[in-house]
């Protein structure tokens, strides 16, 4: 008898998650290399009664999410260690746990050991997981389209850029990093651009519209639950009048 309430409830739980995704997208509208996340809903069919041939109920649940993979806006910063990727690839970064993780946010700098690091201090990894050291006092650091880094004309390392068959299999880990079960393969379609930064690919107009949509759906579901509640109250009242 409460089935219709549960259908409404399943919708509201899902909308709450969708709102969380929108809020996170909006909060990261200026985060370098951030990729917008979108919810994916799926129908869940439950038999309302196991022994009769009644209609089955269909509920909703969020089975996952997918990232918008369109490139973010590229801005010119002129920074020596600011890197934007043109193409589907990711830059390999050594996470504090010692595993390779991946990022699109190229706002790098160098640490006291003159190693190339992300703005959180994680080392950017060359092929084989080795850190990239820029010689102290290097005057002119140039990063080529392949990711080769040269200091005063001598190649000192290479930024390892990888591509994935299924970008959606990457798990976001925060700090602009993604983890993956597959190692990925050396990039063939990605170009490294020095002096540029990729912004986030969040589309503010889309997020705002989606937010309005979520709010109104939430309210109408709530109205449905309310109506159902009133219907039950009335039903009980009427049955009560008949029996008395």
């Amino acid at each position: 008898m409460e089935n219709s309430l549960y259908v409404g409830l399943s919708r509201q739980l899902v909308l709450d998650h969708a709102m969380t995704l929108v809020a996170n997208n909006v909060a990261n509208v200026n985060t370098a290399g951030y990729r917008a996340q979108n919810p994916m809903f799926e129908e869940y069919i439950a038999k309302s009664s196991s022994y009769t041939n009644q209609d089955s109920l269909s509920m909703v649940y969020d089975m996952g999410q997918y990232d918008t993979t369109s490139p973010g806006s590229i801005s010119v910063t002129g920074g020596t260690y600011d890197i934007a990727l043109n193409g589907p690839g990711f830059i390999e970064v050594m996470s504090p746990s010692g595993t390779i993780q991946y990022t699109r946010g190229g706002d790098f700098t160098i640490n006291s050991n003159s190693e190339l690091v992300t703005s959180d201090g994680f080392r950017v990894s060359g092929p084989g997981g080795n850190p990239i050291a820029i010689p102290a006092g290097a005057n002119d650091v140039v990063i080529t389209h392949d990711g080769d880094i040269s200091a005063d004309g001598n190649i000192v390392g290479r930024i390892s850029v990888v591509e994935f068959d299924n970008i959606q299999s990457l798990t976001p880990e925060g700090n602009g990093l993604y983890s993956s079960k597959d190692a990925g393969r050396a990039a063939t379609e990605t170009i490294v651009k020095q002096g540029y930064l990729e912004g986030s690919n969040v589309n503010p107009v889309q997020e705002m519209t989606r937010m309005i949509d979520i709010l109104r759906t939430y309210q109408s579901t709530m109205r449905m639950i309310n109506n159902e509640h009133e219907r039950q109250v009335n039903a009980i009242k009427k049955i009560g009048e008949k029996t008395s």
Partner: protein
């Protein structure tokens, strides 16, 4: 409701962004000021299901997981050490560095600070000091009867003495360089302190490899680009508004729940 807190992290981050931009604009005409840029990173994620988890005993794999992000955090203020524009002032003791390097300044505490602001003056003892009165290192004293003082591009301080043909060499200005100037700590008065992230100071003579040259009678202005800062300010303000919209929407959603009996 997570979205309420997430909206709050967004507003806090954008507030800090506006703070950074307004500091840049306020210091638009500060000699030797270097602009800052705020970097953001996404906060942690709550993994309700990870991609690659199995959804049945037959080994079917979930193609994309469910990871709810929990907002944004400001991760770093990146200081751009690009060269500022050089302005001719014709001041005797106005020195600008054209290229890399910092002037070394002795703080009253005895520590060494580094600056690009070369608006030096002389104190009562004839020592070259900053406008705060802190001594330039290595210390150079100008005799009181010097007719004029000249600083050449290699940083040699020469004085024309009365009744002498040759210029008298008073000392050599040394510059300091850092592997990672962006890692220097700002201490105000356009001065920086060495940190672990910047690496140790490497002293050198102006004009040597990796060191800029000295220009007398010129001052380095700030490297703040006003047009760019205003554009950034607009972006930050709109992002702030959007985050506040997220909060009011979440509030309305909670209000809807509250109306349920």
């Amino acid at each position: 409701m997570r979205s309420l807190d997430i909206g709050a992290t967004g507003m806090l981050a954008q507030q800090m962004n506006v703070d950074t931009i307004s500091n840049n604009i306020a210091n638009m005409t500060t000699t030797g000021f270097k602009k800052q840029r705020l970097e953001f990173k996404d906060l942690m994620y709550q993994h309700l299901s990870r991609p690659g988890a199995t959804s049945s005993t037959a080994g079917t794999v979930i193609p994309a997981g469910l990871s709810l992000g929990l907002g944004v955090k400001p991760s770093a203020t990146y200081r751009s050490h690009e060269q500022g524009t050089l302005q001719i002032t014709d001041g005797d003791m106005d020195l600008a560095i054209n290229g890399r390097g910092f002037f070394q300044i002795e703080l009253p505490s005895g520590e060494t600070a580094y600056t690009r602001a070369g608006s030096f003056q002389m104190n009562q003892d004839g020592e070259i000091v900053t406008s705060e009165g802190y001594r330039l290192l290595p210390g150079i004293t100008v005799p009181s009867d010097a007719v004029y003082v000249e600083v050449n591009t290699q940083g040699e301080v020469l004085a024309k003495m009365p009744a002498q043909v040759a210029m008298q060499n008073l000392g050599q200005i040394e510059l300091a360089n850092f592997v990672n100037p962006a890692g220097l700590e700002s201490v105000g008065d356009t001065m920086f302190m060495e940190t672990e992230a910047s690496g140790a100071a490497i002293a050198g003579i102006p004009g040597e490899t990796n060191f800029g040259t000295i220009k007398q009678g010129v001052l380095e202005q700030s490297n703040v680009d006003s047009v760019k800062e205003i554009t950034l300010l607009i972006t930050a303000q709109r992002a702030y508004e959007m985050n506040s919209n997220v909060i009011s929407t979440s509030d309305e959603m909670m209000d809807t729940v509250n109306q349920l009996r």
